[in-house]
């Protein structure tokens, strides 16, 4: 049986009070209740405070480049469909530097989960505006206030009819781990955007600020209803819904792959007889 202890105990480089700690707990809780052993899971992350998370648990880890968690995550999953692949990174990494990859991943629908730690600020580079920073919020890099409209990952993902779109809050570990569990179970690309206070650099969206606003979506929300989902995806301000915002059964990427490539590519050896035939066709 898999236990929390299997995922180890680590010293971190996070600030005391940071929302990342709770997210780590929720992730491990989800993996344990899914019965996944560390070696069955691959975490792929970008760069940032959130992107360090995979180093603070026992699992396979590919900690790559800023903004680039999704391309290697998709490559890794295509090469070994048997692995549970989880991409984990910050809002700057996932929606800013990696914005194009995020859009492509929604379209491609490879079976993996993106956990986006959304603290609405750049943590590791010390407090510049991120794509989700609210318009007008003052930072050291944006002394006149963040000039751009915030990116809405929920609405974009719903508009793309992504298979699984959820929002969680690091202050509600129980609820969050349930979301992560469902996201991992979902066959296709799943997004869990996680509200996470950054105690060092985001003095606006604090724990209290989130706590005051977030509410769990109830049974009256039907995540299979596109219109309702869009409405919930647009809700961000005085009230912020957490839970599964949208869900559908779009088949995951892979149906059009060659038959031979459905298993792990690591076990493939080129069939020279087949290649000889291919060469002969060039005569």
């Amino acid at each position: 049986m898999v236990t929390v202890a299997d995922y180890g105990d680590f010293e971190t480089a996070w600030c005391p009070g940071c929302g990342n700690f709770s997210i780590r707990k929720a992730v491990i809780k989800a993996l344990v209740s899914l019965g996944l052993s560390p070696h069955e899971v691959l975490f792929v992350s970008g760069i940032g405070q959130a992107a360090k998370a995979p180093h603070y648990l026992r699992a396979n880890v590919f900690n790559g480049l800023h903004g680039r968690s999704l391309p290697p995550a998709q490559g890794a999953k295509l090469a070994n469909p048997g692995l549970t692949v989880i991409a984990e990174s910050g809002d700057g990494c996932s929606y800013g530097e990696g914005g194009n990859h995020f859009l492509a991943a929604l379209r491609r629908n490879v079976d993996l989960t993106l956990l986006a730690h959304d603290n609405q600020i750049y943590g590791l580079t010390k407090g510049q505006a991120s794509p989700t920073t609210m318009e007008g919020q003052v930072t050291k890099a944006q002394p006149m206030g963040a000039p751009s409209m915030p990116f809405n990952p929920m609405a974009v993902a719903v508009a793309m009819r992504a298979g699984f779109v959820a929002r969680g809050f690091s202050g509600d570990i129980e609820h969050l781990s349930g979301l992560i569990e469902r996201a991992v179970r979902h066959k296709g690309f799943s997004l869990v955007d996680i509200l996470q206070p950054c105690v060092s650099f985001n003095k606006v969206n604090t724990f209290a600020w989130y706590k005051e606003r977030v509410y769990r979506l109830g049974d009256d929300h039907d995540p299979r209803d596109f219109g309702a989902a869009m409405e919930k995806a647009m809700e961000f301000g005085e009230r912020i819904p957490i839970g599964v915002i949208y869900e559908n059964d779009r088949p995951p990427f892979g149906g059009r792959l060659p038959e031979a490539a459905r298993g792990p590519l690591a076990l493939h050896r080129p069939d020279m007889a087949v290649l000889d035939g291919i060469l002969a066709a060039y005569a």
Binding site: V61, P72, P258, A266, H268
Partner: protein, 566 residues
């Protein structure tokens, strides 16, 4: 010895089907036992403009394109005036009589395409009929290809094409054109027809490449297209990524979990991949990148050729890490060096490059089918940790190469990190570990040097002139050397098919001994010459550089031999 090759140039607008004429003819000639070099020159547009497809054919081996045109097939009115100056003494020009006198010259054969073809789409077949007749090529070779190509569209289609072809041959026979038939072919062995990019894709598959992510960019794209078209039966996964950054990162991710990955691109696309190359170097995860060069900077001349991205590939990526760069000079080398590139990438867990260019990418040749059974083994990662203790992805070793496992097989965990890391793959800011890890990675260079492909010397090492070259410039240099020897000057060629790392002992004595060492390159600054100077101190006194978008030829080299560095 007189040049017995025949140079056929088909000119016309994009979309006029000149590639069909060229491909049919080239294939028929290869099947008939001839040696060919195809040069495709096209504009960056889908219709209109002026494109050419040149087939240089000979019973003897030919290695490079040639300037003079012996048969010009002018599919449009612009072709004759554009290529008039290239016509050789014996040249014949084929022009549609409907194009009128403007498109014609004194040596023109006005072909009544309208009368010969029931529909304009058959004009290709009529042109082939005239060509086949002029060359005295056995009609059966073309007829067979017509059958192979059109059979799936029904017998009627085959018959219609064959009729136009036969009528055009018969018509030509009546014209009493004095064109000397091509000398009989001597090669009777079995051969296949491939261009450089096809050979790269096939070499990759032979080496076990089963993952290719790419973003389209001429002239690299056709490597991916070949893998997509031919790789299905081999189980190759080909994915068109959202951009080059994704392409290279996706390939590295796939490689991390056990795929054998290749990424084709061109200079502009490669420029975007540079960060990913650095990642491959840092996390020691192999990836083979094919960079098919075209002229730059920026978007440059999108469909022309150049050898100016050596520096880019050589220095791509921040920080320091080992790499290898191959530069095939023939279609056979495209196959074998790509195979070798995969092996070296896997063996040293590093990024490895195949540097080719538009000329070779699109240049068809007849080649003896590759002996797949004779190919050397390709290095592969392990799937189980059999050592004592916990598996460490970056275990420090004398060779710098750590035992590589892939995640998901067995209980061992595999941790890779783009930050400086400890032996078990985790982030560290321990500066001592940093030095240990940097040294470990650097030690792979010794292995890469030991495995480097030495440059090939063609000719007498004590020759008066030594032409040094790399990659696709090989053919032109070899031909120039042969022509020089005929005219009484001794000349040898030193061809680098691996341009990094270089082992000075393999070539420096030759360069130092040569009375006249000339570097021939397809760029404006002499990039390999500079690299050799940097690595060995040897300074080339003479350079022949071409950067007008066209491939090097023997004539280009001979015309400039003697000129100093610009």
């Amino acid at each position: 010895m007189p040049d017995i090759s025949v140079n056929i140039l088909i000119g016309g607008e994009a979309g006029q089907g000149l590639v069909t004429v060229g491909d049919f003819l080239a294939k028929a000639l290869v099947r008939a036992g001839y040696e060919i070099v195809v040069t495709q020159d096209y504009m960056s547009r889908i219709r209109g403009g002026h494109n050419t497809y040149a087939v240089r054919v000979s019973p003897d081996p030919v290695f490079a394109p040639r300037e003079g045109v012996d048969i010009l097939v002018a599919l449009d009115a612009a072709s004759y005036p554009l290529h008039r100056d290239q016509l050789s003494e014996r040249a014949v020009v084929l022009v549609d009589e409907a194009l009128g006198e403007a498109a014609a010259g004194p040596r023109t054969l006005l072909v009544p395409f309208k009368a010969l073809c029931p529909k304009p789409i058959f004009e290709n077949m009529a042109a082939l009929g005239v060509l086949c007749s002029l060359l005295c090529l056995d009609a059966a070779w073309i007829e067979k290809i017509i059958h192979d190509t059109f059979a799936k569209k029904g017998e009627e289609m085959v018959a219609a094409n064959r009729k136009v072809f036969a009528d055009a041959m018969a018509w030509t026979a009546e014209q009493q054109v004095s064109f000397t038939c091509i000398a009989p072919a001597v090669n009777t062995g079995k051969r296949i027809m491939l261009n450089g990019n096809e050979a790269i894709a096939l070499g990759a598959m032979a080496a076990g490449v089963n993952f290719c992510s790419f973003y389209p960019m001429t002239p690299g794209t056709s490597v991916a297209l070949t893998l997509a078209a031919k790789g299905q039966k081999m189980g190759v996964v080909v994915e068109q990524a959202e951009d080059e950054i994704a392409a290279v990162n996706m390939a590295i991710g796939a490689s991390f979990t056990g795929a054998t990955a290749l990424v084709p691109t061109s200079g502009g696309g490669f420029a975007l991949m540079v960060e990913g190359i650095s990642l491959s170097g840092m996390i020691e995860t192999p990836v083979v990148v094919v960079v098919a060069m075209r002229p730059g900077p920026a978007t440059g001349l999108p469909t022309r050729t150049e050898q100016a991205d050596l520096n880019l590939v050589l220095y791509a990526g921040h920080g320091e890490f080992p790499r290898a760069i191959f530069a095939p000079g023939t279609v056979e080398q495209c196959f074998h060096l790509t195979h070798a590139a995969v092996h070296i990438a896997e063996k040293y867990q590093s990024p490895v490059f195949v540097l080719t260019d538009q000329f070779l990418a699109d240049s068809y040749r007849g080649v003896v089918p590759f002996d797949l059974a004779a190919l050397p083994a390709v290095a592969r990662p392990g799937t189980a940790h059999d050592g004592p203790g916990v598996y460490e992805r970056y275990a420090v070793t004398d060779s710098g190469v750590s035992p590589r496992l892939i995640p998901g097989f067995g209980d061992s965990l595999v941790v890779a990190d783009s930050d400086e890391h400890t032996a078990d793959g985790h982030i560290t800011e321990d500066l001592g570990v940093r030095v240990t890890m940097q040294d470990k990675r650097s030690r792979k260079m010794a292995g890469l040097l030991a495995d480097a492909v030495p440059p090939e010397l063609h000719g007498d090492p004590s020759s008066d002139v030594l032409l040094a070259c790399w990659g696709t410039t090989r053919g032109a240099a070899l031909e120039a050397a042969a022509l020089l020897r005929e005219s009484g000057t001794s000349c040898a060629v030193l061809h680098f098919s691996q341009v990094y790392p270089l082992v000075p002992g393999q070539f420096l004595p030759l360069l130092e001994k040569a009375p006249r060492a000339v570097m021939v390159e397809g760029n404006s600054t002499g990039q390999l010459a500079r690299l050799i100077r940097q690595e060995t101190g040897f300074v080339f006194a003479h350079h022949i550089l071409r950067y007008d978008g066209l491939p090097l030829t023997a004539r280009y080299i001979l015309d400039r031999l003697g000129s100093k560095r610009p």
